[in-house]
Point group: D2
Chain length 418, copies 4
């Protein structure tokens, strides 16, 4: 690599880093100190915590480990803002993140600025391994941007006043999507997974062969209108449509519609980042659990795609296309206005449990805890959502959540055997 | 009553009201929006909620019910800030008070200012029944002032950074109290309870006769040094000292010292409104549960006084004396510097269950829910604490908490049979 | 005492002991090994456990402690059948008593026979202290006889087949009781409590003075018909009638009628030791909690009596009278056929928390754990029930349960201030 | 099919049915009425319930549905003994199965005899669909035979007396197995799953192609001695070896050794169907959860096999070979005395989540609830155990449990990538 190339690469990394870091701050801008502090459930984290934890990640794995003489901004922060890295020692209990009223939001923003400056200074001198950690940290932060928004939304949903994060966008009339079309999938030996050569999370590889039986995937995700038909047909009241655990969950929790839906005067409304508004029948349904997705698919005489089927189909599409996050502002899934899209709008539940690919080995050290230790009890989601920062996704990208979780922008694409 | 008298009475009520309302705001001054919003446990409420709820009390029971044409400041607030009045309709769940990041602290302060102005305007025209409700509201707010401080302290105790509410006061050297002295109590038929003629909560009356057996009460409360002896003698490890429910509670919760105590380098420290500091051996022990108080008394070969014994002894003392709250600033129990005192420093657990006095009847309507419906499962405490606003107490005053509660400034006075 | 007197006393004790021991076996006769083994809830114990624990009590506190050379029947039984005596060491967890399928019921009966024989042999040589423990053990066993029946009933109530313990007795037509009459109570200084001279549990004394305000107690307990009126008037749906804890309990548990009541074809039925049958409108209501009793009293414009009021009134009545347990066979509360009765039929909730009397001190050693350590969180009940063995009661007798418990034969007598 | 063939087939089915039914009764023979009634945890069922439920299965799906004029033995039994078939209506709560002290064990055995006779009578006239249900019922009952033993063992383990189901067998000295050998597995496109033509559960098919990457499986399962090394090396105390959910589970439950292990005088013992005895270092470890199995594999530098790898390797072996259940009597895993075995001794945790095969569709009606609705949250186990009735297994056989379950005879075979 020539010096010019090296400089160009450094400049690109610096710019990318600056963009990612700025977006987090912009997303949190509508939040007060209190909004950014409260934790609405153990699964969710306060916005302030997201802002601090992502900074701690850079501070720890890049500045502390790879920059000689760097001194921690505040030695107490490692305890407060480590998420789950056992190798990094004891840490504040996850369910008690909302107790941390101090440091304040503005103190956390100062911490961010300090880390940003230190990292920008250090960038030119970082060797490849450290740069890879910067890139990992940027992708890590993008994941937290999505969580920051869904967690803030969950918090606002607990408030009877239902504050909106942003004013709604003007609604553009869109034609109702037609009936689902079916895309015949590839059969036989197919390669999936990330093959290296550019950034990917460890769990996306190694690239490997899977064998696909004859099948087809839907050319779009399920819409709100279709979900209303499911409800009207007793979808939430017929145990034969449900997995046993799913039925028990729905009965216990009283689940009878997607999260944040409420019937008001005979009209279904939903709560979103732009407040409470009537559902858009043409838009993809979202905030449903795997259990609901699976029950819907059974009701529809179909099934969920496997992650391999999904990836094989999606690899022909542009991962930077579709309705993804371009900046701070109101976002919700939107009716598709063009042909089949596999990226954006809603994360699509697959029928695949999140397990390691053949040959997978977690990295050594704390960073090795990133994904591998979560490979039980979760299902894979694919395709990203309207709150995934554009540029973050790949066809091989694997998201994962427990089957009852539904506070993310999750939706449903059908598949069937041929 | 002459017009002059009426004006003087109005002026006094207006001044009292203004003082009470100002103190609440002063106590909350060190708190950020986030500090004032978070709920650290279901028993505690956010400071913001205390500030709003006490305002809602005046707005509802005085302005709405007794001031023609008054319109609610915000119709949503009744749902948010009603505490437990079933007669006032549905309300936000107690355990979810910490989810209310909006309205903000400054919006709540604006609400307070609005209610203050409306009530000041209305005061001259209020008839006696409404004035009595103003007085009730002032006493109600004083109770919430105490809770505001103990709840904020509990919140800060959940933060590993242990922020202090106020800087500590300079420590004044005090002589160690000598051995407990015993005050022989009155025997036979004794009158206790409030007899009317001035403000009291409904549960303090009617005044009635009780029969007291020969007994004595200690001339001071138990000190931290004495409590350390109890610990050192295995007090928390000997089931024979404990009530059965108390032992089960201590084992389940891992209780082995007063709340907020921590041994650091062989020295017992405690966390208080002035941060974490070594315990003062001469000061009254505080933040202990009824179960702990009872076990201590058994260990000491004594018992807790009944509330009647306490009141009979205390009625000779000045309820406005001792270490009580005079304004915003660091407060903690202090070593006594004079003779026997029954008021201030720490609430004293009695051995009496909180039950109605003979002839007690709750008031009609929502205000009737103030005390009567809590007359099961709680024990009476007497005497007020260092965070009770001076002027709030009476010899007949009955406070009450469940036997495992210990985040209030609670302590122990011994008694024994003669 | 002459030798003749001593022999007569020994004979009386032997006969009493034999009778008590025989009744337990007779009560358990309808139970299979499985019936006698299963634990239906943590509060209840298996019949086999009652049979074994009462034997362990004699074996431990009499034979082991006072009979030289006695060797334990089975050393493992102390661990299995100690109930709650901390001083007797570690023991099997209360909630896991139903796991003990071995020893079998017949093995436990053999254990009983062994203890019976050993104690009969030892009786003539026992000194006074040991004889007092025999008497305590007999009274202890009578308490467990009552529990054996109520626990077995609770178990059968969990079985959809609802097996009856005994066939029902033929129903005798009885006139409906007239309106409640009121008995004016004694006023001023009144002595209550047990004064010694004969057997009583430690918590019944010392005898002491209480001061009673003017009051009256009802001349009978509340009937099923009156309870139906309470239900019909929305008694279970009006929070203003309830203590706060009681209302929360009833909502959480879905309580809307006495335990084991079920509406079948418009008729209220109840499940009892004689199976499921229509309620008898004239009989005392039973299997209600303190919370329900208190709410009923509020609805009726009355209150519950204090235990002192109850005892002052009851002391003029025969504690061996009324509907009490005379042997194995179907029993349920019955309509009164004569004048005011204070004993039998149903335990009467009082408004008094179970707390020590002035001067009370628990005995030393394990037996001292009998009552004293339960003196928090419970309310006193008076008067015994239809499953209390006749001869067990006294006017000073204090039973106690937590306010939400209702699987005993508990009922309601009203009182009011004059 | 000729008449002779038909008769022979009927005879074979009748004999098989009789054998299966007799074995259940023989297995339960050591159990008392109480032993057979108590439920030791929600996951386990009483032996009596297993005996009754398997009879209900035949009565409902064969006699009721396919034998004209059959009348239910007892109409109440459908409610009591339906396990989880939503299509069969309301049923007794799973966690309350231990409350059913009536019908007694002998009444349940009478019910069994009735069903046996009715089915034997009906057999000759049953058409193919009904005969298939008989075969399903027989396989269903074999599954419950395994559960009956593991559930009874769990019950006995709750009893401090630790009763043994059977006396131990004389121990035969066996050479310690040598180091693990590695069997290279098949690569590329491989067919797995059941292809029809004989009995299999629905979830075993359809037969389909999977693609296997280069790998090897161990030639035997992990031994107790190896597990002791894992313990000694801190295996239960090093979070880096564990899945995140597994670590949380082990911490919460205090798991530090296989189920029923106890260190006594420096020697590891285990509780089994033959009572408590020292572990056999040469025998396969058993009663470990998936989480423990996975942590062990990580510690050993290996991984668990996928179910496809396992099946591809096992299909060359005899599914009726190895240490399986041949009759009532003490059984525990035994050291292998010959070459590689894939069947018997212990169920082997695979790394595969229990999910449907390509093209899987659940059967219509209640029987369709057999497996399909459990396809979330569970991991596949392969190979059967020492309490699996011989003849029950196939290479395609899929067992499944939640990852924390460990009261079955579960063990570990390692695999690794090549």
């Amino acid at each position: 690599m020539t010096a010019t190339q090296a400089t160009a690469e450094t400049d690109a990394l610096r710019a990318g880093f600056a963009n990612v870091r700025a977006l987090s701050v912009a997303l949190a801008a509508p939040l007060s100190d209190a909004d950014a502090t409260v934790q609405s459930m153990p699964d969710a984290s306060p916005a302030k915590w997201h802002l601090a934890h992502t900074s701690w990640f850079f501070e720890t794995f890049v500045l502390r480990d790879h920059v000689a003489g760097y001194r921690a901004y505040d030695p107490a922060y490692a305890y407060l803002f480590n998420s789950y890295y056992e190798a990094e020692g004891a840490r504040h209990a996850r369910a008690a993140r909302g107790m941390i009223t101090r440091p304040s939001l503005s103190q956390v923003l100062a911490y961010r600025a300090h880390v940003d400056a230190a990292l920008a200074d250090a960038l030119p001198g970082l060797h490849a391994e450290a740069r890879a950690l910067v890139e990992l940290g940027m992708n890590h932060e993008q994941q937290h941007q999505e969580l920051l928004l869904t967690d803030a939304l969950h918090l606002f949903a607990q408030n009877p006043l239902e504050p909106a994060m942003w004013a709604p966008e003007p609604k553009v009339p869109v034609a109702m999507p037609g009936p689902t079309g079916w895309i015949e999938g590839r059969e036989g030996a197919v390669e999936i997974g990330h093959g290296g050569g550019s950034f990917a999370f460890d769990c996306e590889g190694p690239r490997h062969v899977v064998w696909l039986a004859p099948h087809a995937t839907a050319d779009r995700t399920v819409t709100n209108r279709e979900w209303c038909e499911f409800i009207a047909d007793g979808g939430y009241a017929r145990p034969e449509l449900w997995l046993s655990d799913g039925w028990a969950w729905a009965q216990r929790e009283g689940v009878a519609a997607p999260l944040y839906w409420e019937e008001q005067g005979g009209v279904w409304t939903r709560f979103g980042l732009d407040g409470r508004r009537p559902i858009d029948p043409a838009a993809p349904v979202t905030r449903v659990s795997f259990y609901e997705a699976d029950a819907y698919a059974t009701w529809a005489g179909a099934r969920l795609p496997t992650e391999a089927e999904w990836e094989a189909a999606a690899s022909a599409h542009d991962p930077a296309g579709g309705n993804q996050l371009d900046g701070a502002g109101p976002v919700e899934p939107r009716p598709s206005t063009s042909g089949p899209a596999f990226f954006g709008d809603v994360w699509e539940w697959t029928g695949s449990a999140f397990r390691p690919y053949p040959g997978f080995r977690a990295a050594d050290g704390a960073v090795g805890e990133y994904n591998g230790k979560f490979m039980s009890g979760q299902f894979v989601l694919r395709g990203g959502s309207c709150v995934t920062p554009r540029g973050h996704l790949r066809a091989s990208y694997r998201n994962f959540f427990q089957p009852e979780k539904r506070w993310q922008f999750t939706g449903v694409r059908l598949a069937r055997d041929l």
